[in-house]
């Protein structure tokens, strides 16, 4: 019995964690030991389920549980023992790291030291494989796009359109098949476009999490390929003002980025906390190994504000963010225009506003209720080179308004059962802003969706089980004028049930296995239904199919993790198999469309049956006390099973390895390291000849160097990072870059990052 409890405790610490503790100085290496005792009898309690933030473990035969790698600051403990739930807060900022907590049959727990209540955050409780980049890891890659920052996670690649636009790809899926949760809100921009990057400022993130299974039960359609969770930091609760300034400079493109954040909590009003943040970025023409990439400059400025009122059993928060970017699109390939910050047509200008209001209430010991309302407005203007002075008029000007409402009810019990249920609704309106003097690519539309789900989870020391069911209904009404000023469109409704079942087995202290089988669905998007015409950006003629049905998929993903007792080896391997019924893709047709502009290859949106399978492996070796090695591999195999052909735009095999030397901390410099990295991207050989403008490019190797340190001055801290990407200035092209037909990818890029925290 004791063995299994220890196994459970250790195994749960191996579970990918999502820390909700606020860390002001980034010290997240502390070990917390808590002993659970009965409030009445003072007896130690064995087998209590203790949650620290979002980590969970069971207390052992002496009532102890241990949490490693916690951040300094306040920790909120949720203890379920017998029939009672105790909640308490621990001030983990001092030197004390062992605490005794007495359970109580009342809901009010006994707090030790300061009573400063933590924000209540919903944990990412999922059976699916998740991988997280924490603040320390993000600080080394800040200033780049969201997709670029996720590249170190195996299984994640990106779909690029030149150097300024990148969409994240999870296990071969992108766009409408990957859901991005921006501070708990489903990000709604024109995701259907391959050249539409997510409109999020990664500087707001304290953590980026990638969920690699179909999470359709929890989040609805669009999570058929996976979910990217962008979480801002938890607001402070220590009565002080915190500030952070991040600066980034990059040689390639002569880019500069600055982001500042100010957050605080008033001692006189400890329940209230706030944060304001802003980012400004600018870059000029990027440089490939041998020449400049003309018109690849970018400018961005974003800001956000958040406020929260937090009590022991109730909290309410509000969040507003504004994102504004201008990007140049590569043009005049074959001509080295030199460096410039100017952005001319073709270019994009996108503004995204998001407002979120959320309230969270503990109805009693066991029931928690969360209500959320969000409003988003996305304005996308795309400018092409036009005749008659119309270059300053956008060729595409779309305004997308989305409102979402979510209600979630959770039931926790000390017996290990947890029930989560929810309802969500969305109302979306897309309208082309008149005055472009050219027919819009997609029709105007109104989209209404509603869904309800239930997830039952059982957690024990040996295993966890989860089963979920969801029903969604979607109604789409589209109407637009085509280039001949004729009305087109239609009304469609879709509905679907999705289900998932999963298990985690804590085999031993060293091994654990998790597996999940789930269904997912996705309705065809407006461009897949109604595209009709020349897609200027892609130089091809695309035709939609308004009779298409929903895409349904079945995904089975398993993750095996091993960590050896001596602690110098960690391995994690994901394997997945996904079958699609009605997979929607752009199929190149044999014929050519003749028009006065020339002959264009003709692509038709079609549905077929597809099979995706693959594996992502991570290996970590602590070779010496100060030398770490990490290797990852990502392999995807996808096939159009109806005609046994290969699917387009599937990432090729990717291997990454890193060797890091950690220097000893000195009085002044801490967490100093030097690392060298090597990436190998194989040539995509699973390709149908003649299905593309050009065959896939050759395989390539990229070397990188990184170093960093952190200087402490009392309460203040300065972190410095230097990174060199593509160290050898290798000239290469990537299959997943849609501009590989015209130009090389980026050459050497030397970046300096400074992060100053007060």
């Amino acid at each position: 019995m004791h063995f299994w409890l220890k196994a459970g405790a250790a195994a749960m610490m191996l579970m990918a964690c999502h820390s909700a503790t606020y860390s002001q100085d980034g010290d997240c290496t502390r070990r917390l030991t808590v002993q659970i005792k009965d409030g009445k009898t003072a007896q130690v309690i064995e087998g209590a389920l203790v949650s620290a933030g979002d980590r969970q473990t069971f207390s052992d035969e002496n009532g102890y549980c241990v949490f490693d790698s916690l951040c300094r600051g306040n920790i909120h403990l949720h203890i379920q023992a017998m029939d009672a739930i105790t909640e308490t807060d621990i001030n983990f900022s001092g030197t004390k790291d062992t605490f005794v907590v007495k359970t109580n049959t009342q809901t009010q727990g006994i707090t030790l030291d300061d009573v400063e209540v933590q924000g209540h955050k919903t944990a990412v409780q999922t059976i699916n494989a998740i991988q997280t980049l924490n603040k320390a890891q993000l600080q080394q890659v800040q200033g780049t796009s969201l997709a670029a920052q996720l590249q170190s996670i195996p299984g994640v690649s990106m779909l690029q359109t030149g150097g300024t636009i990148a969409k994240p790809v999870i296990n071969g899926m992108y766009g409408n098949r990957v859901l991005i949760l921006n501070n708990g809100v489903r990000q709604q921009g024109q995701q259907w476009g391959a050249e539409h990057a997510p409109e999020i400022d990664p500087y707001i993130a304290n953590q980026l999490t990638v969920v690699k299974g179909a999470e359709s039960v929890r989040y609805g359609s669009d999570a058929i390929g996976g979910v990217i969770i962008v979480d801002p930091p938890v607001l402070p609760d220590d009565g002080k003002i915190h500030s952070q300034l991040s600066l980034m400079g990059a040689g390639n493109g002569r880019q500069g980025a600055a982001s500042a954040e100010l957050s605080g909590n008033m001692k006189q009003l400890p329940a209230f906390a706030w944060r304001i943040q802003g980012t400004a970025k600018q870059g000029g023409n990027l440089k490939a190994a041998d020449y400049y990439l003309n018109n690849t400059g970018a400018k961005e400025y974003n800001y956000s504000a958040a406020a929260a009122y937090t009590k022991m059993h109730f909290d309410a928060n509000i969040y507003y963010s504004h994102f504004n970017t201008q990007l140049g699109i590569l043009k005049d390939f074959g001509k080295d225009a030199g460096f410039s910050y100017d952005i001319a047509a073709p270019r994009q200008h996108v503004i995204h506003d998001l407002l979120k209001i959320q309230a969270h209430q503990h109805l009693n010991d066991n029931w928690h209720l969360t209500a959320q309302y969000a409003f988003q407005h996305d304005r996308r203007e795309e400018y092409d080179v036009r005749r008659g002075g119309k270059t300053s008029l956008p060729s595409l000007d779309l305004g997308l308004s989305t409102q979402t409402a979510d209600l979630t009810l959770e039931h926790l019990s000390s017996s290990g059962w947890k029930l989560t249920g929810g309802w969500s609704g969305m109302y979306q309106n897309n309208a082309s802003v008149p005055g472009t003097m050219i027919a819009p690519l997609i029709p105007d539309y109104v989209l209404k969706t509603t869904g309800a789900y239930g997830i039952l989870r059982y957690q024990s020391a040996k295993y966890a089980l989860e089963a979920g069911l969801r029903y969604d209904y979607l109604y789409l009404s589209a109407l637009g004028y085509d280039k001949n000023s004729k009305l087109y469109g239609g009304k469609k409704s879709y509905n679907s049930m999705t289900a998932n079942i999963g298990a985690v087995w804590y085999i031993s202290n060293d091994w654990n296995l998790r597996t999940n089988v789930g269904t997912a669905w996705r309705p065809p998007s407006v461009n897949e239904l109604y595209s009709n015409g020349l897609h200027h950006g892609a130089l091809s003629y695309e035709l939609g199919d308004s009779t298409m049905q929903v895409e349904k998929s079945y995904k089975w993903i398993s993750t095996l993790s091993y960590s050896n007792p001596a602690g110098w080896l960690q391995v994690q391997a994901d394997a997945y198999l996904q079958y699609f019924n009605g997979y929607i893709y752009l199929n190149p047709m044999d014929s050519i469309i003749e028009s006065i502009r020339g002959s264009f290859p003709y692509f038709q949106y079609e549905q077929t049956n597809a099979r995706f399978s693959g594996t992502d492996i991570t290996l970590q070796l602590h070779i010496l006390k100060q030398l770490d090695y990490k290797a990852t591999a990502s392999i995807i195999r996808a096939k159009n099973v109806r005609d046994n052909s290969f699917l387009p735009m599937i990432p090729s095999d990717k291997y990454l390895q890193e060797l890091q030397w950690n220097l000893k901390d000195s009085r002044f410099l801490k967490n100093s390291f030097m690392k060298i990295s090597h990436q190998y991207v194989a040539m995509q050989k699973r390709y149908e000849p003649g299905s593309d403008f050009a065959p896939p490019p050759a395989a390539y190797h990229l070397l990188g160097l990184g170093m960093g340190t952190s200087m402490h001055f009392g309460r203040q801290q300065l972190k410095v990072f230097v990174n060199i990407d593509n160290l050898l200035n290798q000239s290469y092209r990537d299959y997943m870059n849609r501009y590989r037909y015209y130009a090389d990818d980026m050459g050497r890029n030397i970046q300096l990052r400074l992060i100053y925290v007060i």
Partner: protein, 193 residues
């Protein structure tokens, strides 16, 4: 459930706010698009060959080919006389509107290239120039050097760098290197006898 009563006011308020904000917007019906005054397309092109006297003055002998929105030429083949020169006029239409004025106004960004399927049959010289002195191609002179039947590909290029070496001449096959994009790309046959 005594505790529930304490919070029921909070919950009711939260739900009421969420419901009101959400349902208030659901009263709109379908989308109401506005038609755009499409001014972008080249919907037709006419290429006229006006036979010239030996002194260069035009005759009334004209052969024309018209391309529709699909790029289909009518007639498919023009008969021209070997040994003669022709004033070559290209006119671009957007429905009823002639676009040539716009093209001339933005002449530095436009150039017409002519690509014969065989060399040695025709030669072309530009008559017009933009504000930088570079040719455009709305007006020119085609000389039929030898008899033969060729296919002639006419490309209106927009946004190119006219100073680039790849943009020089009337039939420079490297024209893509000069940048820009095709606004028109059509072909027809010339039977020179």
């Amino acid at each position: 459930m005594k505790e529930m009563k304490k919070y029921s006011l909070n919950i009711a308020a939260a739900l009421a706010i969420v419901a009101t904000l959400f349902l208030a917007s659901c009263n709109q019906d379908g989308p109401t698009p506005t038609p755009e005054n499409n001014q972008e397309e080249i919907t037709a092109i006419t290429v006229s060959y006006v036979k010239l006297h030996t002194d260069g003055t035009p005759t009334t002998d004209t052969a024309s080919v018209t391309f529709d929105a699909d790029g289909t030429p009518t007639p498919g083949t023009l008969s021209l006389s070997s040994g003669n020169s022709y004033l070559t006029l290209v006119t671009f239409y957007d429905h009823d509107e002639v676009l040539n004025t716009e093209i001339t106004e933005e002449g530095t960004e436009h150039k017409i290239f002519f690509f014969p399927s065989q060399s040695g049959i025709i030669n072309y010289e530009y008559n017009d120039h933009d504000s930088n002195g570079n040719p455009i191609g709305l007006s020119g002179k085609t000389t039929i050097l030898n008899p033969g039947t060729i296919s002639l590909n006419l490309i209106l290029r927009h946004g190119l760098n006219k100073n680039s070496s790849a943009a020089q001449g009337w039939n420079n096959t490297d024209y893509i290197q000069a940048g820009g994009e095709d606004d028109a790309n059509v072909s027809f046959n010339i039977q020179a006898e």
